[in-house]
Symmetry: C2
Subunit: 309 residues, 2 copies
C-alpha cells in the first residue's frame, strides 16, 4: 500500500481544484476568513480504548485545534462524528461529553453539528474544526525563505515517551498526560501572524513535518540536534535522545520559520502567549531536512516520523 502522502498527492490532490484547498499541501483549507481542518482519532491507533473518555474527547478536539493554531486562526466551532461500537455505555458517553464541554470552555468553542453511527469496529471520532483568521493572514507552509530561522514551541518527544510508558505499563504521569491530552498552542499561533513566515503543527514528528515546509517552500531545513527542547520528564525516562524526540509523533507543538530580523518579535510572541519557544535551526538553499549532530554532520534517520501505512 502506498504511503498516505502518496495517496493524497496522487489521487486526491487532483480533486482539490479550488484555491481554498491549496492543493492539499497544507493542513487546512481557507474559505475567506474561515480556516477549516479535519482529523480523526481511532481507538487502538491514536488512543487506548480504556483511556478516560474525557481525555479522548479532548484529544479529538485538540489535534484539530493544533492545526488551526499553527495557521494563526482563532477556533470557534466544530462538527463531531462518532462511530460507536454498539456496546458503548451511556456512562462512557456522558464522560465523553463532559470532556467536550470542558474544552469548549477552555478554547471558546461551540458544537455546530455532527453524526453518530454504529460500527462493528473500534470507536472513531472525526472532528472538523472551524476557525477564523483575517483574510490573507493565515500562516501557510510554503513561505519559508532561505535565511529564515527555525523555531519550535514547548518540548519534543514527550507524547511519544508517554505512549512508550503506557505500552510498558510504567508510571510516567506527566508524559502520559501529554500523550492523552495535547496542549494546542492556540494563543501562540495567533501571536505569530505577521511574524512567522511558515508554520505547521508537529503531529507526525518534527523532521517529517518540517519536511512539508521544506517541500512546499522549496528550501532545505537544517536542525541542530543539541538545540531541540527536551523536558526533564523526557530526559529522566528516555535519556538525552533528541533524535527520538525529533521523529516521534503526537507533539502538537508549532514548528515555524521566521526571518532573522524578526527574532525579537518571535520571542515577544512567545512571552505574550506564555509558551516557551526555542530556536532550533535555519533555512538554506536545497531540499529536505537535515538533523545535525554536535560535529555538524547529518544524522542518518531510520524513520522520520509516524506513518499510517
Amino acid at each position: 500500500m502506498p504511503s498516505e502522502f502518496d495517496i493524497i498527492a496522487d489521487l486526491f490532490a487532483p480533486l482539490a481544484t479550488s484555491k481554498a484547498a491549496m492543493g492539499l499541501k497544507d493542513d487546512v483549507a481557507i474559505l475567506g476568513e474561515i480556516v477549516l481542518t479535519t482529523d480523526t482519532i481511532i481507538a487502538g491507533v491514536d488512543f487506548f480504548p480504556n483511556d478516560p473518555p474525557d481525555t479522548i474527547a479532548k484529544k479529538a478536539l485538540r489535534v484539530n485545534l493544533s492545526d488551526l493554531a499553527a495557521k494563526g486562526a482563532r477556533p470557534f466551532g466544530y462538527l463531531l462524528t462518532l462511530t460507536l461500537p454498539r456496546n458503548t455505555s451511556e456512562s462512557w458517553l456522558g464522560r465523553f461529553a463532559k470532556g467536550l464541554r470542558a474544552d469548549q470552555k477552555t478554547f471558546g468553542l461551540t458544537l455546530l453539528g455532527g453524526d453518530i453511527s454504529s460500527t462493528p469496529g473500534p470507536l472513531g471520532i472525526t472532528v472538523a474544526m472551524f476557525g477564523r483568521a483575517p483574510r490573507g493572514k493565515a500562516i501557510l507552509r510554503n513561505r519559508a525563505r532561505v535565511g529564515d530561522l527555525v523555531f519550535v514551541s514547548g518540548t519534543l518527544g514527550d507524547s511519544g515517551a508517554g505512549l512508550a510508558a503506557l505500552k510498558a505499563r510504567k508510571k510516567q504521569p506527566k508524559l502520559i498526560a501529554r500523550y492523552r491530552v495535547p496542549e494546542p498552542r492556540v494563543a501562540l499561533g495567533q501571536k505569530l501572524r505577521g511574524v512567522a513566515s511558515a508554520a505547521l503543527d508537529v503531529s507526525d514528528g518534527l523532521v517529517a513535518d518540517l519536511g512539508h515546509i521544506a517541500d512546499t517552500s522549496g528550501v532545505h531545513i537544517v536542525l541542530d540536534a543539541r538545540a531541540l527542547p527536551l523536558s526533564k520528564a523526557y530526559r529522566a525516562f528516555i535519556g538525552n535522545d533528541p533524535v527520538r524526540a525529533a521523529t516521534s509523533g503526537d507533539d502538537y507543538e508549532i514548528a515555524f520559520t521566521a526571518p532573522r530580523s524578526r527574532r525579537a518579535k518571535v520571542l515577544a510572541a512567545a512571552k505574550a502567549a506564555r509558551v516557551p519557544v526555542t530556536e532550533i535551526g535555519w533555512v538554506m538553499k536545497g531540499r529536505g531536512v537535515a538533523l545535525l549532530d554536535a560535529s555538524g554532520r547529518p544524522i542518518a534517520l531510520k524513520k522520520k516520523g509516524w506513518q499510517h501505512f
Copy 2:
C-alpha cells in the same frame, strides 16, 4: 444503550451553544450563507465491503448532498476523512477517487481537505459538505404550519428493497442501484426555497424523518398510505406495500411541507427540477406522524425507521 436521538438531545444538544447549530435539531448548521453538514458511512453498516469503490465514493458524497439539497443549499465543496484497513489496495483507492471525480463534476464540487487514517476496523468514510444558501433562505425543519400540505420527491422504499435484494442475492439492478448510489435532489431543493415551509431528506425512513418536522414544528402530520409513491420495480419485487416503503431507510428524497396556497408553485418547482413530486398528506394540530389506511385509520407501525442503536 440509548438511541442516537436521545444521545444527541441529552448529551450533545447542550454543547451546541451557537444559534448556527439550531440546537442540533436540523441536519445542518448555518454560518452566514454557508450551510454545512456531515455524515459517515461505514462498511458493513451503510454499504457492503465489496460494493464497487466508485459507488461507495458516490454514496459518501450523496448522503451529504442530500442533506444540503433538502435545505435548498447549493453545494460547493467537502472535506473527506478516510479510515482505511491496512490491506486497502492502490487499485481500490484509484477506483474510489474516480467515483469522487465523477460526482465532483456532476454536482460542481471541489475537495477542500481531509484526513487519512489506518484502522483495525472496517472502512469508514466521513464527509463534511459545504453549500451556500442566501442568508435566512435555507429551508428549516421547524416551520411547518397547521394547514400545510406534505409532499415527497421521487419514490419511496426502493433503496431498502435494493438492500433486501442484495442480502437475498436477487438480481434487482434498479433497486440495488438506488441503494448504492442515491440521487440527491439538489436542483429541486434550490427551487423549493421560498416555496416549502419545512423540509428534510428522507434517510432513516419517511415516518421517522417527518417525525422530526412534526416535533420541531409542534404539529401533527397525517400521511395517506395510498398516496405514497412506489416505483414499478418496488411493486414488482416487494409488492404494494406502502408501510414498508414509509419505514425503510436510505431513500434520500426530500420530504417537505408547503402552504396549500403554494401547491402550484410546488408543482412548478418539481417541473423545473425534472423530479416527480407527490402530495402525500397534510399538517394538523397535535404531535407525531400518523400513516392512514384506506379507511382513514392510523396504521400501527412496528418501527418507524432505521436506528443505529
